[in-house]
């Protein structure tokens, strides 16, 4: 089906994007739609952020009012415009301790529950799915060493994967700039990173994460859409998949969640991005509320919710 045309009589001339942005009603309509379709949630606080991006896209497609633009978002068969808008709306940059409250949840609540009844020396397996340049799995490693009192009682395997081989190479290398490290307290930077000698062509200062931690994360190239590639992940206790599934369509999210369910040990958890929810993805998980965050659990008996 071809993209919806404004007013059905061909493209309208492009006009100036409304400098005042969306009306409160239009903003609510758009945010409601985005929330229904993608689970992404935008509050009033993000108003300017949303307005600018929507105005840009409306101008690009020649839509003069929001309803026209939203018809395109709703009914375009390829979903291309919705994907473009979503990409614009999501912050792609990753950095150490991003959404740190979820790591706090891991070391303050989730791990203790998981090891209840497990003898010392047992395995724990944590998978960072969509790890990009490695900030997430390395952040988990640092949090475990610094903030989990029982880290030495168990054998903890940290697995990390991404579909992009370039970012994986950079993750294995473990070299980061100021922007990536800004969320880390100075004493942790000093403890876990070594400054690199600067060369005139390299730009700002860079640090490399210590070899011990580079050796503690097992990076692999994995396309989550391929069941054969995901098959190698089994008996996982916690999967971090933050702000990745929003780029998938409905069926893709449903399938990936199903494969995460397969990969998890019974009672295992999935941690999504802060504005994501399994309510838009899959029927296989139960939400669990901890003091710090909501995570999604595979039923303990492995069966239906």
């Amino acid at each position: 089906m071809p993209p919806v045309r404004a007013s059905g009589v061909g493209w309208l001339p492009v006009t100036e994007a409304d400098p005042q942005g969306l009306s409160p009603e239009d903003y609510a309509t758009l945010c409601g739609f985005l929330r229904d379709r993608t689970g992404l949630s935008f509050t009033e606080a993000k108003r300017y952020f949303v307005d600018r991006r929507v105005a840009t896209r409306m101008q690009a497609v020649g839509a003069t009012d929001l309803r026209t633009y939203m018809n395109l978002l709703r009914f375009q068969a390829s979903g291309e415009e919705l994907q473009r808008l979503v990409n614009l709306m999501t912050v792609n940059e990753t950095y150490f301790f991003r959404e740190k409250y979820q790591f706090d949840c891991l070391v303050n609540s989730v791990l203790d529950e998981l090891v209840r009844g497990r003898p010392k020396g047992s395995q724990l397996r944590i998978w960072s799915a969509g790890c990009a340049t490695g900030e997430e799995p390395y952040s988990i490693a640092i949090m475990l060493l610094e903030n989990w009192s029982r880290v030495d009682d168990y054998e903890i395997e940290l697995l990390a994967s991404d579909i992009d081989s370039t970012v994986l190479a950079r993750a294995r290398e473990g070299i980061y700039d100021e922007r990536a490290l800004q969320g880390l307290p100075a004493h942790l930077r000093a403890k876990y990173f070594q400054p690199l000698r600067r060369s005139p062509v390299e730009g700002g200062p860079r640090w490399q994460i210590v070899e011990d931690l580079r050796d503690s994360v097992d990076f692999s190239l994995v396309n989550l859409a391929d069941p054969q590639q995901v098959r190698g992940f089994r008996s996982i206790d916690v999967i971090f998949c933050r702000n990745l599934l929003i780029y998938f369509d409905d069926l893709g999210r449903r399938e990936t969640a199903s494969m995460f369910h397969d990969a998890l040990a019974p009672g295992g958890f999935v941690c999504l991005g802060h504005s994501e929810s399994m309510s838009r993805m899959s029927s296989l998980f139960v939400p669990r509320r901890f003091p710090e965050a909501i995570l999604y659990q595979k039923p303990v008996d492995g069966g239906a919710v």
């Binding site: 309510s279 899959s282 909501i294 919710v305």
Partner: protein
């Protein structure tokens, strides 16, 4: 009852239909309740865990998590197991009502909901005085 500062008892309406959520909100707010909404059982559980309601009104047929499943999970949660629940559905066979009861519903309303039925059931289950006969 945990009436909060801004209104009466809190009702969580869980239904994938925006018309049902909006109608329930209009009717129940008019009767002094505070209303929260969720589009399916998963979102309903998330909301209930974050802000415990005094009453849940839950639809049967929803994608991702249906009403029976949501109620079963609710009844397993120590913090939420005693929250009264009204199940609302297009289905009207006796077996449907029985299934609702077994899942943990306290009341069953057949769609489309009548405003007076919604309000009286909500009052009954949140321990509020019922309207006098003939009163609006």
């Amino acid at each position: 009852m945990s009436a909060n500062d801004t209104g009466g008892p809190r009702v969580l309406v869980v239904d994938d239909a925006v018309t049902v959520r909006a109608f329930s909100r209009r009717v129940l707010e008019g009767a002094g309740f505070v209303v929260d909404e969720a589009v399916n059982g998963i979102e309903g559980l998330e909301r209930a865990m974050a802000v415990p309601p005094d009453l849940v009104i839950v639809d049967v047929n929803m994608r991702k998590m249906d009403g029976y499943t949501m109620l079963r999970v609710l009844r397993r949660d120590p913090a939420l197991r005693d929250v009264p629940a009204i199940m609302i559905s297009t289905e009207s066979k006796d077996s449907d009502r029985e299934q609702a009861l077994l899942a943990g519903a306290n009341w069953y309303i057949v769609k489309p909901p009548r405003p007076e039925v919604l309000v009286e059931a909500a009052r009954l289950l949140t321990g509020q005085p019922l309207s006098a006969e003939g009163a609006p």
